[in-house]
Symmetry: C2
Subunit: 506 residues, 2 copies
Amino acid sequence: MSNEKITSTRAANYSEWYQQVIKVAELAESSDVRGCMVIKPWGYALWENVQRVLDGMFKATGHVNAYFPLFIPVSYLEKEAAHVEGFAKECAVVTHHRLELRDGKLVPTGLLEEPLVVRPTSETIIGASFAKWVQSYRDLPLLINQWANVVRWEMRPRLFLRTAEFLWQEGHTAHATAAEAVEETMKMLGVYAEFAEQWMAMPVIQGEKTAGERFPGAVQTYCIEAMMQDHKALQAGTSHFLGQNFAKASGIQFTDDKNVLSHAWTTSWGVSTRLIGGMIMTHADDDGMVCPPRLAASQVVILPVIRKPEDRPRVLEWCRALQQELRAQTYAGTPVRVELDDRDINGGEKKWQWIKKGVPVWLEVGPRDIDGDSAFVGRRDKVKDKSVGTKRPDLVAGIAATLQDIQDTLHARALAYRTEHTKIIDSKAEFYAYFAEPAKKDANDPTPIHGGFAMAHFNGDPKLEETIKDELGVTVRCIPLAPGEPGTCPFTGQPSAKRVVWAKSY
Amino acid sequence: MSNEKITSTRAANYSEWYQQVIKVAELAESSDVRGCMVIKPWGYALWENVQRVLDGMFKATGHVNAYFPLFIPVSYLEKEAAHVEGFAKECAVVTHHRLELRDGKLVPTGLLEEPLVVRPTSETIIGASFAKWVQSYRDLPLLINQWANVVRWEMRPRLFLRTAEFLWQEGHTAHATAAEAVEETMKMLGVYAEFAEQWMAMPVIQGEKTAGERFPGAVQTYCIEAMMQDHKALQAGTSHFLGQNFAKASGIQFTDDKNVLSHAWTTSWGVSTRLIGGMIMTHADDDGMVCPPRLAASQVVILPVIRKPEDRPRVLEWCRALQQELRAQTYAGTPVRVELDDRDINGGEKKWQWIKKGVPVWLEVGPRDIDGDSAFVGRRDKVKDKSVGTKRPDLVAGIAATLQDIQDTLHARALAYRTEHTKIIDSKAEFYAYFAEPAKKDANDPTPIHGGFAMAHFNGDPKLEETIKDELGVTVRCIPLAPGEPGTCPFTGQPSAKRVVWAKSY
């Protein structure tokens, strides 16, 4: 029977549960290549929807796409010292351009004069192009995005969250003034936040990173941070104001309208397939994946319930007609994505497959349902449908509302969860107690889970942050953009401008 | 003045002309990384449109997308001998996973136990996944597509046509029977042909490759071949029936409904950014790029003609309204893509920039045009507009028809060009004369261009084909699918089933 629940729960073993969800939902799997994953069709379709929506948002804010080389000459990396520090440790390095068969084994030959790095990020190689493209203030702003794969060698890979190769987009822009570049940085942070909230149903806190968590070479790094169901924070997207650092390293210069030569001000911003890990850990439950309706590969699946073979043609015909009617409806700007699963396999097993995959709505249709011109409506968020009847015309007319209701429910739940596990903390003792891992009583005891997000004042001292990181594994996830009151740092008694978000993180 | 013509013509120096078109149209440029190109926004948008349309066609024929690792263990390549032969010679090989700074230089460290190859194609790594995914006939057919970058080290790179890294899609399917796999192979060939003809306005000949031109490891390779303006053939897409070769190499096995274990039958098929090279060499002229309307990044550009500053607000307002009206029109399934170029630069220069970029339609709008509620309509195909008036309502209502008329004109011209330069040849002497490069009289003499496509009989002997290749640089581009009469091979006097297409090629 594959209509069993997955073999772990969030409470029992969170990490095992995460792996299981990915497996039973057929989202991805590990490959034989260390740290690299295979993204399976159901998982990749989530990414395609992420791409489609974000790409539209980027274009609506004036950006165009381009494509830059996969390989970066090692000498490019050497140009920006902080960047070298940040990326050189974990690069795939191409040293040869040929293989030769010797004694039945392929061995590398054709040594390259200069080794090439598989891009861990494209700042340096895009910088080289920008330096050619930008001459005058008339060439600015330059607003470019790239959808690409990047590689950062990972010693402890986890599907979607941390893989050696991952898919992402990286925006790179150049501006004539610092103010414009800062405005761009904040605008794209806002795009990410809107996407996370509206499309992923994932509440996020927008904020700035402390110096210790900044992108190597950035002047300021902003991020969106979300809470996962183990109370850890996931950095889901970043937007960097790079000042003139990369422009100086790459030679991006322009003459202004008074013919004065200056370095441009640049930004970069990115999100990756990590977002899918975020969706899983925000919404999935002990039955498997729960896809937010706006990004689900299929939003509705129709499951014909056929017990007698002679019912088959009639039931399938009705289901096909229903599929067409539903597909004619629009939700979130696209036709409703409806699948009809007419595979001739056990009905209970089939239903459980879809529950595990996290399809937002399933419709069960048997001969009796057809007699009543209705269908059973199952909602993956487990809310009994209240918005529409199950009569076919109501179901069809109300499908967009049902999907949005699920979307809203998922968002509200995630927000409530975050609120529940966020605490205002004003003393060091309480802070340390909050983040202490409860002891595991025995092997059967659930995975201990610490407090969650702590909103505490902080004097901003990098050394203090380092100490807390060493002692608790907790860092400042961000200094929220939202207004806050000044107060006193509970660790030092010194003044603090506002509370910051402390958490353990992925 | 940048409203000059590009500095070479097709007749004077075809190869130089091709480079110039790419440069002035801002389609792409070489990078510092050997053989790798930067695809600039105007060129990348063509690729985005190719992707959007083809992806829709793949999905309409039942395929889903997935993503497989960039890296392939060398041992995977060793599994299929023909494949090794075909790809091992030109691979980027990753041997290290770290860089360390020594005396200011980054040097590779962290030697990998097994080298990794940057995928030249993904048959072997996708095969490894298919072997896991396929157990029973119920798992078949498996219809997967991947959009990805691949790397084949190129000693003589040419932008779009032959670059070390290129973007492509690769379809990989597994089937229970040979007949189904062959049907899939032909279906996807048909999809490519339809796309080339309908969307790229590029006439193609569908046919089968001879053994010498087959994909390494394939049982049969089918292709679409197009004629470029130097009379050479461009292989624009291929579809391979792989028999059970790759299934055996990768262990893709299934039990049929009688519980008998068999190897699956597989196919693969792909097109790449080479298609953009094909578009350029099919449609571009001595003024620059000519984009087929259905794939053009912008289909219409509005050029305000402002001589007195006080006219500016009024002209721009009218142009913006026109842009909105045009964008509300639909062409080939999407809203018409309309740009308003309100940059404050010389009008003639601006217009020439757009001509060089190959925008299908430009509209010039000055105060007098506005007084007459009309605009000047420029067509990049240089056909004087006959289908619609230049009065604004006619222009708006007729824009889709105008774009389609340009699309049709480009296709008809390309087809006429191919017909003109295709000859039925029945003697060896005529064949050799047809393909001889005319001698170049002096440095100012145009690039000599040989005949074109020869339709000649062929006995099918690989050695004969090899001899002709050595002597003339001419190969059998394909054995056309279209019906043909049997006849006599002009080289051997032996019987021939039908005429084949002989040509020089890219």
